[in-house]
Symmetry: C3
């Protein structure tokens, strides 16, 4: 059953280029974990290191829990508290921990391409999981979002109407979601945000709708995927004020009424209450935000199992 | 044997209102852990998160060790290193980690009522343990203090003479001790400290003796429970100087001679040597300070077992 | 087999005074771990605390992994995040965690003698491992360096020609290496560095060669052991500039040609690329830097097993 999902994946750096079959295989396995089927601990004796050059406690905890539930030994490394302050490069830090015998690395970094760069120098036994780098990729977030949509709206993405709203330009979540939605066959995807926060000439938008009008984007959709607004967008002059942003792009109960009555709302967290989403919506019956979190642990377990266990014949 | 202690407790937020039976049940079980009876790991597969919005490494380690010895998966979350810096509320952080499947939460917070507030929104499978909030409650410290007294002076608290000395007004330890002493039947409790550090109109003092004279408070007691003097009391003008405080309220060997020869000395730690207690007393034969620490791990194991294991019939 | 190595060691504070038999016994056991013989988990239920008063993430991770692979419960304590900020002494912090039932302590401290001081007050069940203090001792680094040499050049140290290059005066690694090399019978050891970074009147140099000429030191050696140059040596005026230091004492491919063609290069890490060593050498075929890291985990497992397990007859 699980053999086919292991075959193609050595690392998980991006969802770009992954087939629907691979994505669905990982989601099927994660669903088994959601359903409570942790029947064994395949990663006993395997070292997994969360190597975070940018702080993100919740993402780290999610990966840590996923790894521990599979029986792995988890090491946490945060750059701020580490010898990178002694001037060591990320590559040397990685090579060093790899040399200790650690086989799985969960990488978070401010800069695009860091996970790929480490994968390029990784040994044959090592698997890299990108836990978010720069504005490019956050593949496990994309996967858990798809799993959440699938649970709510079924396995056929081709008929789904989806709005993706907010700071698309700087969002690694948006990019990973869009790669996955395309691979899974979604066609009615409306990408919505202010002009300053939309990428202009990005192939990732091809075939999808781009709009600056939130009401139009929400019209009749099955799912609204909200993005987090980073406060630094204000300092950079890309957004005038939080109040202004909320008025134009904040998801309120009134606005959500444009969507289908059974539409669901996703958000990768942490949420800025009163900015991109109101309390009423975030805590309302259509929000799946905490289900996303629960799916996150299961999805990360599925990914680590796929990358770090050998086919049984090898044992 | 252990069934009766589980019944009433869903969370452990305060010792206020707990019966002598409940307190003694928890202490009986902790005593078994002290005696080395960790025969099984009832929390295998259970996630426990230490969620500390105020740093306290020693308290965290004690809970972590207690949970690990029961087989739990422990996650540590310190607010200073976390996404609460991204503006997320304590409630959202809690809900998020709860959604990951974590069932036990050990909460530390500067503000009164935080543990209660999180208990109010917790799901039915979740148990909250207050590891100290504001000036109000630190229930496991109260329990471990009672266990330490019981080991030294027997199970009958009604005949015990006890002095509680120091910054009562700001001490969550003092409040938890007083709730427990009252429930266990202690009547001769002398509460001693400078006027500026005693609560004036607090029901918690009812029936106990309040005095500003340390020598009188110590006269013939079986146990002296010292409190830590926080340095910020100086900045707030509540204490003139450390030297001054030590002269009036510091426990010296000379002063301890007012107590019974077999009197014991407790302190929740970390101690300010030369301020509220001298080296001679802190390291002397009457001090039980390190036994309190040892009891702390056992007590916390007993509490977590009580809150997080199901009655056997459910299995 | 392993009985004899356990007998003499209560703590591991320094390599000074340890016999060749003890050193080889520990190395033999570490080699078994390198060869994958983690057949059992002898430290199950044993608490091990990394108590670091100076940050060193990689050393901490190495000890943590070594302890976890033996089945220990590992607690990490970093002074910067801890109650030592509340004014508690290192001794009180240690006694406190010891009272929680933790039996193994891995100590790192800026000041010479800290590990010894804690060993002096440790209880009979407690073992202290010095993970580096001041400029004096880093015994597990010395041991892993010897293991790495032994793997590359055989068990007979008496015929080995070895250059030890860099900031000898401030290096705890150098001291531990020199103690071990002497005990294992090495005689042709050339100690090389600028006048400002060589200890003048130290018995540790007795019988070894001291030189300020790197080319002479490297002539025909079997192994080059490089040391890290701490940046603060510049601020202290002991080194003029990094460029200057590199020109005189940096190991380049050109300079390495003075050594034997099969000479190996060691460095304790983290490396200052382009200062004490060039990329070409650090990443070249003669460098064993990552093998040192791998040996480190095995060596620390061997040490913890030796200190924390009882002879079988006791069980």
């Amino acid at each position: 059953m699980t053999v086919d999902i292991r075959t193609p994946l050595r690392h998980l750096l991006s969802l770009e280029g992954l087939s629907a079959e691979t994505l669905n295989g990982l989601m099927d396995r994660a669903q088994e974990f959601v359903d409570g089927k942790y029947l064994y601990q395949p990663l006993q004796g395997v070292g997994v290191c969360t190597l975070f050059f940018e702080p993100s406690t919740r993402t780290r905890l999610s990966f840590q829990l996923a790894a521990q539930q599979l029986g792995a030994e988890v090491l946490n490394f945060e750059a701020a508290n580490s010898s990178t302050t002694k001037g060591e490069t990320a590559a040397d830090t990685f090579r060093n921990i790899e040399a200790m015998g650690v086989r799985g690395f969960v990488i978070r970094h401010r800069e695009d391409g860091c996970a790929q760069a480490l994968a390029n120098i990784a040994g044959p036994q090592t698997a890299i999981i990108n836990a978010g780098d720069g504005c490019s990729n956050h593949p496990t977030q994309g996967l858990l979002d798809m799993l959440t949509l699938r649970q709510a709206k079924g396995h056929d993405f081709s008929g789904m109407r989806i709005a993706l709203v907010g700071d698309i330009a700087h969002s690694r979540v948006a990019r990973s979601d869009l790669h996955a939605l395309r691979a899974l066959g979604a066609t009615d995807v409306r990408i919505c945000g202010p002009r300053t926060l939309l990428p202009m000439d990005d192939a990732i938008l091809d075939g999808f709708t781009v709009t600056h009008d939130l009401d139009a984007a929400l019209d009749g959709v099955d799912a609204v995927m909200m993005l987090r607004l980073q406060r630094e967008r204000m300092e950079e002059g890309l957004v005038e004020s939080l109040k202004d942003y909320h008025e134009q792009y904040g998801l309120t109960a009134k606005r959500l009424a444009y969507a289908r009555p059974d539409a669901v709302v996703l958000h990768p967290g942490p949420i800025n209450r009163g900015v991109e989403i109101t309390d009423e919506v975030a805590d309302g019956p259509q929000a799946l935000i905490l289900r996303q979190v629960a799916n996150g642990v299961a999805m990360r377990s599925a990914v680590m199992e796929a990358l770090l266990t050998k086919p049984l014949a090898v044992h």
